[in-house]
């Protein structure tokens, strides 16, 4: 038995060195640093208690980033979950051209988010983009969707939905395939309308997938900001400022690492709440067969 213990620890040791060094210790270090000030020149960092957090509460850009992140999550999560389910329902039966349809939905998922951002920046570009060209046909004036404060965040959110819906679709496809065919036949004999069948049978059965996909959408909403770098840089006037992008700005453009640590703590807490929530939701609400 003892030998098995030693072997086991030797086997997981290499992986654990990296896990601890680049995930767990940094998390603890981030938390500790959020209670200290930045070292300045020769002056070492000083313990400041909750000062960084007090500064955060008084920081209008942080407030803006939080509100934006909430709006962004509130748009991208239901939109990408709903669209991915619709896509899966469209392509889960075989017919001529189904492969083409599925490819149209899935291709954006394969592209790097930076490339996706470029593609959409061009799509939105005032004067050049397809949106403006179509508006031009109807004699409408040019609009700069990513350049004006009241549309920038929505323009960025649309890109996220475009990128992730196809990815979520494949999970729904897998789930739809597990629904037994006899159920459908029985329903058809009973004269059950497709919508009723969907609401009463399909939807409850694919609930675990919906939970899984939603959790992923939440995590993406806080974790994926690559396109913000290319499309808006958080602007104009912080209109599309998101939490992780703000952490980058504070940490690597203003080099205020103490404050960036405090902001990172907020992000870690949010993601942990999502994780714990998923754990309990999976336990209770969701119907497994």
């Amino acid at each position: 038995m003892r030998r098995e213990w030693v072997h086991a620890w030797l086997l997981i040791l290499p992986a654990f060195v990296f896990l601890l060094a680049f995930t767990h210790i940094p998390v603890v270090q981030t938390l500790l640093n959020s209670f200290w000030s930045n070292p300045k020149g020769r002056r070492a960092a000083a313990f400041v208690g909750f000062d960084n957090y007090a500064a955060m509460l008084a920081d209008p850009i942080f407030a803006k980033a939080m509100v934006n992140s909430a709006i962004y999550a509130a748009i991208t999560i239901p939109a990408s979950v709903g669209l991915s389910l619709a896509m899966a329902l469209f392509v889960h039966r075989r017919f001529r051209g189904v492969a083409v349809m599925r490819m149209a939905y899935f291709t954006p998922t394969v592209l790097p988010l930076i490339a996706v951002a470029n593609i959409w920046l061009f799509f939105y570009a005032p004067g050049f983009g397809l949106i403006d060209q179509i508006r031009g046909l109807f004699g409408l004036p040019s609009v700069n969707l990513v350049g004006q404060p009241d549309t920038a965040l929505y323009a960025v959110a649309a890109v996220t939905v475009w990128k992730e819906a196809g990815f979520f679709m494949i999970f729904y496809l897998a789930a739809l395939q597990t629904i037994p065919e006899p159920l459908r036949e029985a329903a058809a004999i009973e004269g059950c309308r497709p919508w009723t069948f969907f609401r009463r049978v399909t939807w409850p059965l694919i609930m675990p997938t919906t939970l899984f996909v939603s959790v992923n959408a939440v995590i993406n909403a806080f974790r994926l900001v690559d396109h913000v770098f290319v499309m808006t840089r958080g602007g104009p006037d912080n209109a599309s400022q998101l939490l992780l992008y703000y952490i980058y700005e504070v940490g690597f453009r203003f080099w205020d690492t103490a404050y960036a640590s405090a902001l990172t703590v907020v992000l870690v807490v949010i993601l942990s709440i999502v994780g714990i929530g998923q754990f309990f939701a999976a336990d209770r609400k969701v119907h497994y067969k």
Partner: protein
């Protein structure tokens, strides 16, 4: 479903598909046309390949490609070795602290290294690794996700095989190499596709940790190329964008089934 329902579903499906592929098709169209057409869409405009060599010459894309290929190869090989060893221990051996250790692995599924930018940057500076390809990869070497996925796969392998192998005089590593690795190949392939596409596309951490042409991966190179260019030349940017995504896109078109199945396997836990 009645005929009408089916027709309605098909029509809605095609409309969504057309809408979905439109931004990409428009970028492709622009990449293959001379810059003077970018402001006025014209289906009869002549096609050209000239934008691609132009983009290739204006930035060190060859170097960026090399960097990205080195990066994804390095990350995937280290991940497979480290995570196979750990997954095997979690799947088949019993040892004190196993549950705590596994919980720590699962933590990484939520708190990914991507968000711990500030601390990981400090670590790299301490190690003197800022602006190296190694530094881009280091935080991802131990993938909680790979350990989890491989552990699940290994647990489905019948224990009788273990015993048979041990009777034959196989040691622990021999058992792993002769029995578990061959049977775990599909899961490793699935993880490999996910890992390669993830790190080919990764941007934020490489952006922070690199600052020279010799280390920058494609994504960072592309973002610099498309933002610092004086006077936006859309045909050029679109050509560069397609060029940098082409390998993944081609890989996807060729191995569509494997891609979709891998992503699916990887996601369903």
């Amino acid at each position: 479903m009645t005929r009408v329902d089916t027709i309605l579903m098909r029509a809605a499906g095609w409309m969504l598909a057309a809408l979905w592929i439109l931004p990409l098709l428009y970028a492709v169209w622009a990449a293959f046309h001379a810059p003077e057409y970018e402001a006025k869409f014209d289906l009869t405009a002549p096609w050209t390949l000239a934008n691609f060599p132009r983009a290739w010459e204006q930035a060190p894309f060859a170097r960026y490609f090399l960097n990205t290929i080195l990066l994804v190869t390095m990350i995937l090989s280290v991940q497979l070795v480290l995570c196979t060893l750990a997954a095997f221990a979690f799947a088949r051996l019993s040892f004190p602290g196993k549950n705590v250790a596994f919980a720590l692995v699962l933590v990484q599924l939520l708190v990914v290294p991507d968000i711990l930018l500030v601390e990981n940057y400090k670590t790299m500076r301490m190690l003197g690794l800022v602006d190296t390809i190694l530094a881009i990869g280091l935080p991802y070497f131990a993938s909680g996700f790979a350990i989890f996925l491989l552990r699940q796969t290994f647990m489905t392998i019948p224990k009788e095989l273990d015993e048979a192998a041990r009777v034959e005089g196989c040691g622990l590593l021999g058992l792993l190499w002769r029995v578990y690795v061959p049977l775990g190949k599909p899961a490793m392939l699935a993880f490999g596709l996910v890992s390669v596409s993830h790190h080919w596309n990764n941007f934020l951490w490489p952006l922070i940790i690199t600052n020279s042409v010799e280390t920058r991966p494609l994504t960072v190179g592309l973002s610099i190329f498309s933002t610092t260019d004086s006077g936006i030349d859309w045909a050029l940017i679109n050509a560069a964008t397609l060029m940098t995504s082409a390998p993944l896109l081609l890989g996807f078109l060729l191995f569509q089934r494997q891609f979709v199945q891998s992503f699916m396997r990887a996601g369903i836990k």
